[in-house]
Symmetry: C2
C-alpha cells in the first residue's frame, strides 16, 4: 500500500475539474447565491468523481467565524454527570433549545486545567457555552469566555458576572415543602442534602460544613428547610443517587428511639433511597415516615408517588438554549427564574402519634 500521500481534494480541485472558479464552486455547495443549475450539477459531478466530501469544517468555521458547536461545561466527569437524571433532562432541554442553531453539543469538563493540552473551555471552537452547576473555579472560565466574546448562560450557578442565569427558587420551594410537612404536624424532621462542598464530603451536617458550603443549590435548599425547621439534624450525601439516599436513610432511621417523623431529601433519588432504607427497616411510608423529595423526576423502580418539589428540568435546559440562540442573534438575553411546584404524592402524611 502506497503511503497515504493522496492529498484529499479541496474545493479548488473540484472547481478546477468542473472548469469553474473556486468561488462558484463554493456557491454551488453552500447554496447561497445565484448559480445556474447546469453549473451546480457540473460542480457536484466533479466532486463525486474526485471523492470530495464537502467543504472542510475547519476552514469554513474560520472564515464564517462560527463553528456550529455549543459547549456544555459540566462540573464532574462524564460518568458522574450522566448518572443524574436531572442533568440528563437539562441536557436534553438544551439540545432542544439550540435546535434552531443546528449545532452540536461539545462536552467539556471543568476539572481543573485538565491533563496536558486538553481542549478545555479556553480553547474549544465553540460558538456559545452553557455552564451547568456552579463551581469554585468557574470564575476563571467565565473570564476567558468574556475575553473571547463567547456568549454563555449558567444553569443553577451564579457566576457573579453579567451572564444570564437559569435557575429555580430553590430556597422558597424547599421552604414550601417544609411548611407543608409542618402543617401536617411534623416537628421531628431530618435533612439529606446534596454535596455541600467540592470534595463531596459525606457526613453529618455541622455548622462548619454548612458555613463552608460552596454549592449554591444545596445551600439554598438547606436554607429553605432551615427557615421552617431551624434545628433539624441531617446528613450530607456525596452525590445524588439512590445509593447515597439509602445509606443516609439507614443512618437516620436505624435508631428507633430517636427517629424523625419526616425526612426532607434534596433530590428525588436521595428520597427514593431513604424510602428504600425505611422499607428495609420495616418502617411504613408514609404512615410512620414522611419523605419529601426534590426534582419531580420519575424514579425508575420506585413504587411510590413521591411527594416532591417538581422543577422543570427540561424547560430549564431549553431556556438556556434559547437564551444562547438569542444572544448569538445579537439580542440581550436575561436571566430566567423558574418556579417549582409542590407535588403531593403518597409519601407524606401526618405523623403517627
Amino acid at each position: 500500500m502506497q503511503t497515504d500521500a493522496a492529498p484529499r481534494p479541496t474545493l479548488a480541485d473540484v472547481a478546477a475539474r468542473a472548469g469553474v472558479s473556486a468561488s462558484t464552486a463554493s456557491l454551488a455547495f453552500s447554496g447561497s447565491g445565484p448559480v445556474s443549475d447546469a453549473t451546480k450539477a457540473r460542480v457536484l459531478a466533479a466532486a463525486t468523481e474526485l471523492g470530495y466530501a464537502g467543504p472542510d469544517p475547519r476552514a469554513r468555521s474560520l472564515r464564517r467565524g462560527r463553528s456550529g458547536i455549543v459547549g456544555v461545561v459540566l462540573e464532574e466527569r462524564v460518568r458522574a454527570a450522566f448518572l443524574d437524571p436531572v442533568k440528563i433532562q437539562t441536557l436534553d432541554g438544551i439540545s432542544e433549545g439550540i435546535a434552531p442553531l443546528g449545532a452540536g453539543l461539545l462536552l467539556l469538563t471543568d476539572t481543573g486545567e485538565a491533563g496536558g493540552q486538553a481542549v478545555g473551555i479556553e480553547s474549544a471552537p465553540v460558538d456559545a457555552v452553557v455552564l451547568i452547576g456552579c463551581s469554585p473555579r468557574l470564575g476563571h472560565s467565565v473570564e476567558v469566555l468574556r475575553r473571547r466574546g463567547i456568549p454563555a448562560v449558567a444553569i443553577e450557578g451564579q457566576t457573579g458576572e453579567d451572564i444570564p442565569e437559569i435557575s429555580i427558587d430553590n430556597r422558597n420551594a424547599t421552604r414550601r415543602g417544609a411548611e407543608y410537612l409542618r402543617e401536617l404536624g411534623h416537628s421531628q424532621v431530618s435533612l439529606v442534602t446534596l454535596p455541600l462542598d467540592a470534595e463531596r464530603t459525606r457526613g453529618r451536617l455541622t455548622a462548619e460544613l454548612e458555613r463552608d458550603s460552596t454549592t449554591a443549590v444545596a445551600t439554598e435548599r438547606l436554607a429553605g428547610a432551615r427557615a421552617v425547621f431551624p434545628d433539624a439534624t441531617g446528613l450530607a450525601a456525596a452525590a445524588s443517587s439512590i445509593e447515597e439516599g439509602l445509606e443516609a436513610g439507614r443512618a437516620l432511621l436505624s435508631d428507633p428511639a430517636n427517629r424523625p417523623t419526616a425526612i426532607i431529601a434534596q433530590s428525588d433519588l436521595l428520597a427514593a433511597g431513604v424510602i428504600q432504607a425505611a422499607e428495609e427497616l420495616g418502617i411504613a411510608v408514609p404512615r410512620e415516615l414522611s419523605v419529601l423529595g426534590f426534582d419531580g423526576i420519575r424514579v425508575d423502580g420506585l413504587q411510590h408517588d413521591l411527594t416532591t418539589l417538581v422543577q422543570p428540568s427540561v424547560a430549564k435546559g431549553r431556556a438556556a438554549g434559547e437564551a444562547l440562540v438569542r444572544m448569538l442573534a445579537g439580542e440581550q438575553a436575561v436571566s430566567v427564574a423558574f418556579v417549582s411546584t409542590l407535588h403531593i404524592g403518597d409519601t407524606t402524611a401526618p405523623p403517627r402519634h
Copy 2:
C-alpha cells in the same frame, strides 16, 4: 452602548504591541521553538494588556489540521441515549481512552439528515469518530468518514467497511446463560429482547420480526438464546428500561396457566423490570421464576443480585478510545472482541416442580 465594534485582538495585534513578529508571538504561546524568556514575557504581557484570550481555536485547527475534538455518534436523541447506563459507561470509557489526546467529546446524533443546517457527522470538525450501535443508515455516515479520511471505530455495530469494531460475544454469551438455565432444569423459557428494528416495535416475537431485525446486538443475543431454546416465546421491548421490562414481565407472567419458569432478558434494566412485575404478581424470584439479565450494571434500587452476563462496558469504550488514539498516530487499529462472563446471582434457581 457603542456597538460591539471593538474587534477582538488577534495574535498579530499582540505581536505588534510586543514589538515582535507574529511568528515569534505564536511561538511564545505554543511554547514550541526557541524564544528567549524576555521576549516571551513581553508577548504575554502585551496579550494581557490587550485582553487577548489566546489563539483562536478555529484558525489553529485549520492550520494544524486537527481540531482536538472526537465525535460520538449516537443512534438516538440525547435523552434516550443517556437513559441507558451501558451507554453512559461506554461513553465514560471513551473519554478515558482518548484522554491522551486531551480532546473534547462532541455529541452527534444519527437522526437522518437532521433538521436544517445541522452539524451532522458530515460537517463536524472532528479528528475521529466513535460510532455507537448500529443503524441502518450508518452506511452513509461511514462513507462520508472514509472520504474525509476521518478515523472511526464502531462499538457494537458492524459497518461492513474496514473500520475497527469493538464488540462482545453477544451470541455465545447469551447461549452460555441459556445453557445455565437449561442445566438448572428450565424448559419453559421466555425472552425479552431489545428493540429489533429501527422503529422500536414493541410486541410479540414473530418469525417475521426476527427476520427483518436490523439491530445486530438484539439479533445476536436472540440467536444465542434460540440455540438452546429454539421455540421460546418472547416479547420485543421498545427500549432498554425498567419500565419496558415491567410491561413485558406483566404480559409474560399474567397468565398463571401458561407461565415460563425462566425469563431471559437482553439487558439488566429489562430484567429488573421483569423482576418487578413478578413481585407485583406475587411470584417469588428465583423460587418461582428465574431471571437472567445482560450487561452487569448495578441497577440502582434493585434488591437482588442479578444473574447476568457481565460485559465490560467501560473497557469497551476505553478500547474504542485507545483505538482512535492509535489510528491518529498513524498505526493500524484492529477490532477487539471482549468476552462477557456469566455472573451467577440470586435470581436464578432450579424450577419448582
